[in-house]
């Protein structure tokens, strides 16, 4: 099981990713999209951290910044103790053999002009792996993700969505990484197929001892696959805790609203459930509200001037369950 006393595999500290907004012919910077605005978390070897939040809250950006597909605006990402931002080309290549990405869109993430075999063999070639029998290794990888050897000559468009997602996973696994960032890997799939992929990921983790950063907006799914869950809102983590904790006793009003908004496939009890319908939309990350960025939509009765004026920081004092809310203890007072 996960050993939390050891040094984390991934340490993220006050990570920020601000995209400049440019205007006009000369590209004057008129503001910034604060896509990720100072988040910190740790990820231990072998565990799965779920990252949830509404669309546009910065999940993908976090993932891409962690893997240095984007240069961080501020903050540090340490992988196995090494500062990812400071790596030179050589180290970066080594890092990329250990940390891989699985994308959301099963249609856009595969080069349509390369056959599956060519795609996998190219990776192996670039990293000098399986020099003697690349094709054999490619077939092995396919079988690892539950595809068959005869698929090796096919092209991406000849696969179904679920199969394509498996190809994406096979590609990520081809470099034998320790750590996978999964950016909504099943959102585009049907429920029945979704379960297949989730199971596959689960099996691989067991087998290969992988570490996952699992991004999703389906809370039920995240609960199912994650050891710990982090909830993001407008570029910040508002709550992070063990999966069962967060679902049984959510502390942040946003988490609670989010959980209550998830439709439950349980028609019998549907009228008894507490349902919190948030008003309005997620504000723009260019001009996030002052203080607690959730305060304009917050249904908490204790909402006050402090919420408007002061940014709540993630309270790390409580063992294993951190919340960024000024009123996290007064959990009772939420308008239904």
């Amino acid at each position: 099981m996960v050993d939390r006393s050891a040094r984390p595999l991934l340490e993220v500290r006050s990570l920020k990713q601000h995209f400049p907004v440019r205007r006009g012919a000369f590209g004057k910077v008129v503001g910034h999209v604060r896509a990720v605005d100072g988040i910190s978390f740790d990820l231990w070897r072998g565990e799965t951290l779920g990252l949830v939040g509404e669309s546009g809250c910065g999940k993908s950006t976090t993932a891409r910044t962690v893997l240095r597909l984007l240069e961080a605006t501020a903050g540090v990402v340490r992988f196995d103790g090494e500062d990812v931002g400071a790596m030179d080309d050589e180290r970066l290549r080594a890092f990329r053999r250990r940390a891989q990405f699985v994308f959301q869109d099963p249609f856009g993430s595969l080069n349509p002009r390369l056959s599956v075999g060519a795609m996998l063999e190219e990776v192996l070639h670039v990293h000098g792996l399986a020099k003697t029998n690349r094709r054999g290794r490619a077939v092995e990888l396919l079988e690892l993700v539950g595809l068959r050897s005869e698929h090796v000559d096919r092209y991406p468009h000849e696969f179904s969505g679920g199969q394509r997602q498996r190809l994406g996973i096979a590609r990520a696994l081809s470099v034998e990484p320790d750590f996978l960032v999964l950016d909504e890997p099943v959102s585009a799939l049907d429920v029945s197929v979704q379960a297949q992929v989730v199971n596959l990921l689960d099996d691989l983790q067991q087998e290969l001892g992988l570490t996952y950063l699992f991004i999703a907006h389906d809370l039920a799914l995240v609960e199912h696959v994650s050891d710990r869950v982090a909830v993001m809102y407008l570029g910040r983590i508002v709550e992070i805790a063990d999966a069962n904790h967060i679902y049984s006793e959510p502390r942040h009003p946003y988490t609670r609203a989010l959980l209550s908004a998830v439709p439950r496939p349980d028609p019998i009890n549907r009228d008894d459930r507490e349902r919190i319908v948030l008003e309005g939309d997620v504000p723009s990350p260019i001009n996030p509200p002052t203080g607690c960025s959730f305060h304009p939509r917050c249904p908490h009765f204790g909402k006050d001037e402090q919420c408007k004026g002061e940014v709540p920081i993630l309270d790390t004092t409580r063992q294993g369950h951190f919340t960024a809310c000024h009123h996290q203890d007064a959990v009772v007072g939420i308008r239904g």
Binding site: R64, L67, L69, L92, R93, R96, R97, Q100, F101, F103, Q104, D105, G108, S109, L110, N111, P112, R113, S115, E122, V123, V126, H127, E150, D153, R154, Y155, H157, E158, G168, R171, V175
Partner: protein
């Protein structure tokens, strides 16, 4: 696979060995059938009717040798194509079909485009075979008094021109010049355009800005001024015309490629390539350019047509290919003065241009539909 089918296959092979294209015609596949059959028969006709020239070409000038090689190659290609076609393919349907295959399939369903392609292939064949085909030397002047402006006749199927030269022969030789100008100029412009466009799109920032400003200048630049200067400074020659056309036509391609690269750059498979630790060079050459190539191929096809028309325009201004070299453009431009008297002088080269360009445009349109996965149904 049933035995009956294999027997049928063997039988067709025999037929196709004797007369390539016939099996296809008998099974109702007119396009392939006629193409193969006519190519075959045409080549045979050249072999027999132009027997001396074929012999002469054995040790002749480079263009004669090229014509000879073309003749032999087309014979072989026609024959093997028909053979392999009736032999069938062993690859199971629907497996390992690449995007190119899909495009080819979609294209082959587009009848007008296929017709265009056949015309183009035929034209290039004719152009290559011209030294064997043309009834006369294109520069040979007959008797100026008696053989000038002779209308259509069996001796001169398309009549003679103001120097009593054979229009048909000139038309055939003109095909070489016009098609070559189109092909070479477009090759130059597409190469430049693709490279600059890809670099601009991938690098972004200042490089992009500079390249695109340059593109703006070239697009708005009056080409004629450039032409006169260059022709004035270096003399007018086919080489110069090709160079000028090639060097001024690339901005269109550059813009297309840049746009395509910009959108591809955001695609997840390019990001995947980055995460997999691929070098920039590999990403550009193996992942970006092949995916951006579709529109370029379309632009190139359409570009060849446009260039042929442009060359005609230059000829009208007197800036075209040096006489007596026949290009279709010069033939139309020169013949236009006699439109009322000797209509055949400009009409035939004019129609040749129209149909060639039309063929290129049909193929281009067909390719556009076939190569764009969004338009493929």
């Amino acid at each position: 696979m049933s035995d009956g089918f294999l027997v049928a296959r063997r039988r067709w092979r025999v037929v196709s060995a004797a007369l390539p294209g016939l099996p296809q015609l008998l099974t109702g596949r007119w396009g392939t059938g006629w193409t193969v059959l006519l190519t075959w028969l045409g080549c045979l006709w050249v072999l027999t009717a132009r027997y001396e020239r074929v012999i002469g070409a054995l040790g002749g000038a480079w263009d004669q040798s090229l014509a000879l090689v073309t003749l032999v190659v087309s014979l072989i290609v026609a024959w093997t194509w028909s053979w392999r076609d009736v032999s069938g393919s062993d690859r199971p349907l629907g497996i390992g079909v690449s995007q190119w295959d899909l495009a080819a399939r979609a294209f082959s369903k587009n009848h007008t485009a296929v017709a265009g392609l056949i015309v183009i292939i035929a034209l290039y064949l004719v152009a290559l075979l011209t030294p064997l085909l043309a009834p006369y030397d294109p520069a040979f002047q007959g008797n100026l008094i008696t053989e000038r402006y002779v209308g259509l006749s069996t001796v001169h199927p398309l009549g003679t021109d103001n120097y009593a030269r054979d229009v048909l022969s000139r038309l055939l030789y003109g095909a070489r010049i016009s098609l070559a100008i189109g092909f070479v100029a477009v090759s130059i412009s597409v190469t430049i355009g693709t490279l600059l466009g890809a670099v601009a799109g991938f690098m972004g920032g200042i490089v992009d800005g500079l390249i695109m400003r340059f593109v703006d200048i070239v697009i708005s630049f009056p080409r004629l001024v450039l032409l006169i200067t260059i022709i004035g400074l270096f003399g007018s020659s086919i080489f110069m015309i090709v160079a000028v056309l090639g060097l001024t036509l690339w901005p269109g391609t550059a813009r297309i490629v840049r746009g395509e690269v910009l959108s591809l750059r955001e695609r997840e498979f390019i990001q995947a390539a980055t995460v997999l630790g691929y070098s920039k060079r590999r990403i550009i050459l193996r992942h970006l350019i092949p995916n951006a190539l579709g529109p370029v191929i379309v632009a190139a096809t359409l570009g060849i047509g446009n260039t042929i028309v442009l060359e005609a325009g230059l000829s009208f201004l007197g800036l075209g290919v040096q006489p007596p070299t026949p290009s279709w453009g010069t033939m139309v431009a020169v013949g236009r003065d006699d439109l009322l008297g000797a209509w055949w002088l400009s009409t035939f080269p004019g129609l040749a241009i129209v149909f060639t360009v039309l063929a290129f445009n049909l193929v281009g349109d067909g390719l556009r539909d076939a190569l764009d996965p969004r338009l493929r149904t």
